[in-house]
């Protein structure tokens, strides 16, 4: 069973099989395109159609009502292949087709420059140029991309070429574009290729909507104008889409490359601190210090790669689609990507849950060291990076950046905090609080006990270590060392510069910021820590300020006159 189409050929009605229709239509279209814009084309076409109608009518007299494929073949055989129409006629045109007076092979195949609509990225310019010179269009495209990136003139050149090079519309154009000999065999081949397209278009037309005929009728001037505008915009958006696609491809490729490089090569290093002592570590080294087991680590890495990589892979892929059109496998690729991404979520989630369980219970061990110093004495408190002492002494330079270092089976961490509080007793003491986390308290405590932290007396100084070490197998489980200095009233402590960065929220009478407390003597009083030097400085500043108040009447100007540094402290006191 076959569907038929009703056609009007030179005023006569024919019922014609769908496939036969497609073939006939293509035949007529090809002939039409052969004549190009030449004068008399429409008249010739009318004559040809009339003749075909005549032949078909002769056939119908045999009793069959429907025109079938074999009829069309016979018509074409009688009328001749498209190039025969040019063969004896149209001198100029026939040159173009290489004097195809006969259907035999032609030795002269002149190529013509067309835009290739079958193989286009933006406008088919590169593809057409590629055909013309007989090289793979990828090289032309590459050259254009380079031209766009380096000189920026490529875009303009492309647009101009797009405008001036005609699109290959007919079979003849395509053959000439490819430089294939224009003869019966090749035309037939190209026509066959196009029949499929026509057929498809026709089916789209039929099933796309039955009201198409009505639409044609009401398609007045306005609608034509808008459809013309629409075409322009469509093309414009297509071009923008291509550029956007290129951007997506670049973005996706860069991120994916970074991801792979970052994870699997030593290039992806993370620096802790920024001095000579700080070493860079690859992601794998760091991860193995974080994750409980190798399996869990690789699970997490795979999960993150999928979780982060898939969206960018999808970006890259959609970029490719924008540039080259959607492939048939598009759906499958989409589903695969989505599944892989969900897998990524699963793996990451599993690793995160598993690892966060390791952090669930905190515990800490407090070590209390009595300090022997009496009222009136001054305790000098300083800190050093014990293992890097030599380095620090040599160049007199202290680095206070966060320290992280893996040394053999030990990891050195720089997370040491210091606070100063009022001793509840009359004795001074130092509390060293080692804390860590684990699945349960016992594990947390075991880790806390594994923290190796030392203090050292040197002359009259108490030297704290800025760092502590833990066994590397303990993994990083939020190990911390907090030092609490407990001093009774009327005892004085001098905070040396080595403590910088370690002091954390030390309460004091003048509400001086921790980092300003260094290099001063602090005495514990009943109202908290007081530094005579800072008090003295503040009084000076207040006097200065008062003098300024007297001299300058307008209050607002005062803030501008005083150095901001002083203003802040003045305000602190006045609070």
């Amino acid at each position: 069973m076959k569907k038929t189409v009703t056609i009007n050929l030179a005023g006569l009605i024919f019922n014609i099989d769908e496939d036969a229709y497609a073939h006939l239509k293509n035949y007529l279209d090809t002939i039409r395109s052969y004549f190009g814009e030449s004068e008399g084309r429409d008249e010739i076409m009318t004559d040809v159609e009339a003749r075909i109608a005549e032949i078909l009518q002769e056939k119908q007299k045999e009793g069959r009502q429907v025109v079938i494929m074999s009829d069309v073949h016979e018509v074409i055989e009688a009328m001749g292949q498209p190039e025969d129409y040019l063969g004896e006629e149209f001198e100029g045109e026939s040159k173009r087709s290489g004097h195809s007076g006969s259907s035999h092979h032609q030795s002269t195949n002149r190529r013509r420059l067309f835009r290739d609509p079958d193989n286009m990225v933006v406008g088919g310019v590169c593809s057409g140029i590629g055909h013309y010179f007989g090289i793979d269009p990828i090289w032309i495209r590459l050259a254009f991309v380079v031209a766009v990136l380096t000189l920026g003139t490529g875009i303009l050149l492309y647009i101009i070429l797009w405008l001036i090079i005609p699109k290959a519309k007919s079979s003849l154009d395509r053959l000439e574009m490819r430089g294939e000999p224009v003869n019966l065999h090749n035309i037939g081949k190209t026509v066959e290729e196009e029949i499929d397209n026509v057929k498809k278009n026709y089916e789209d037309y039929r099933y796309g909507g039955g009201y198409d005929r009505d639409r044609d009728r009401v398609k007045n001037g306005f609608q034509r104008f808008f459809s013309f505008l629409g075409d322009i915009f469509k093309r414009l958006f297509q071009a923008i889409g291509k550029i956007f696609g290129l951007f997506l491809i670049l973005l996706g490729a860069i991120v994916l490359t970074a991801l792979v490089v970052g994870l699997f090569t030593s290039l992806g290093q993370v620096n802790f601190g920024w001095d000579e002592g700080a070493t860079a570590y690859s992601t794998l080294e760091l991860s193995s210090f974080f994750f409980d087991s190798g399996a869990l680590m690789y699970t997490a890495i795979a999960g993150i790669v999928l979780l982060v990589g898939i969206p960018f892979l999808a970006l890259l892929y959609s970029g490719l689609i924008l540039l080259f059109g959607a492939p048939r496998t598009g759906r499958r690729v989409g589903i695969t990507l989505t599944l892989a991404w969900v897998l990524g979520i699963g793996l990451t989630g599993y690793a995160a849950l598993k690892t966060s369980a390791d952090f669930s219970k905190p515990d800490s061990k407090v070590e209390k060291i009595p300090l022997e110093f009496t009222e009136g004495d001054t305790l000098v408190l300083n800190a050093e990076r014990r293992k890097l002492k030599l380095l620090s002494e040599n160049d007199g330079f202290e680095d206070f950046g966060e320290v992280f270092k893996l040394e053999g089976d030990e990891a050195r961490l720089g997370d040491v905090k210091l606070t100063i509080e009022k001793s509840p007793t009359s004795n001074a003491s130092l509390e060293i609080i080692r804390s860590a986390r684990g699945r349960h308290f016992e594990e947390a405590m075991a880790r806390a006990e594994n923290i190796d932290y030392q203090i050292e007396w040197r002359a009259n100084q108490l030297i704290l270590d800025r760092e502590f070490t833990i066994p590397i197998d303990d993994k990083w489980r939020d190990q911390e060392v907090e030092i609490v200095l407990l001093i009774p009233e009327n005892h004085t402590v001098y905070l040396a510069s080595g403590l910088e960065g370690m002091l954390q929220g030390v309460k004091n009478y003048t509400r001086t910021k921790s980092w300003r407390m260094l290099n001063h003597h602090w005495t514990m009083t009943d109202s908290g820590l007081v530094s005579e030097e800072i008090l003295y400085n503040l009084r000076d500043q207040i006097d200065d300020a008062n003098r300024l108040y007297e001299e300058i009447e307008i209050l607002e100007q005062e803030e501008e006159e005083i150095v901001p540094d002083n203003t802040e402290q003045g305000e602190e006191l006045s609070q």
Binding site: G11, E43, I44, D47, G80, D84, G87, E88
Partner: protein, 115 residues
Amino acid sequence: MKVENTKAQMRKGVLEYCILLLLKEREMYPSEIIGELKELHLIVVEGTLYPLLTRLKNAGILSYRWEESTSGPPRKYYQLTSIGSTVTEELSKTWTALETAVNQAKNLNSNKQDK
């Protein structure tokens, strides 16, 4: 080899002349012309004729009139115009001259071969 090309060129020139000769006798519509030409083995496919007729008509050599057909679409009956008649006369002279020339050339050749 270009022999097919040359043949086509020769046929092309003669074809035009023959159409004019056919139409000199009486007016004809394309299918008739095709039938005659096929008998003369001058054309193989019909498609060739239509562009030729259109060009001759546009050149003022031919004119046509419509005639309703009982068995199909209306037919274009072609006839020679006065210019067409003149052109046909001229072509006839040229043809005679060519024929003579070709014959002479052939004879010349065979004479030489005889010697």
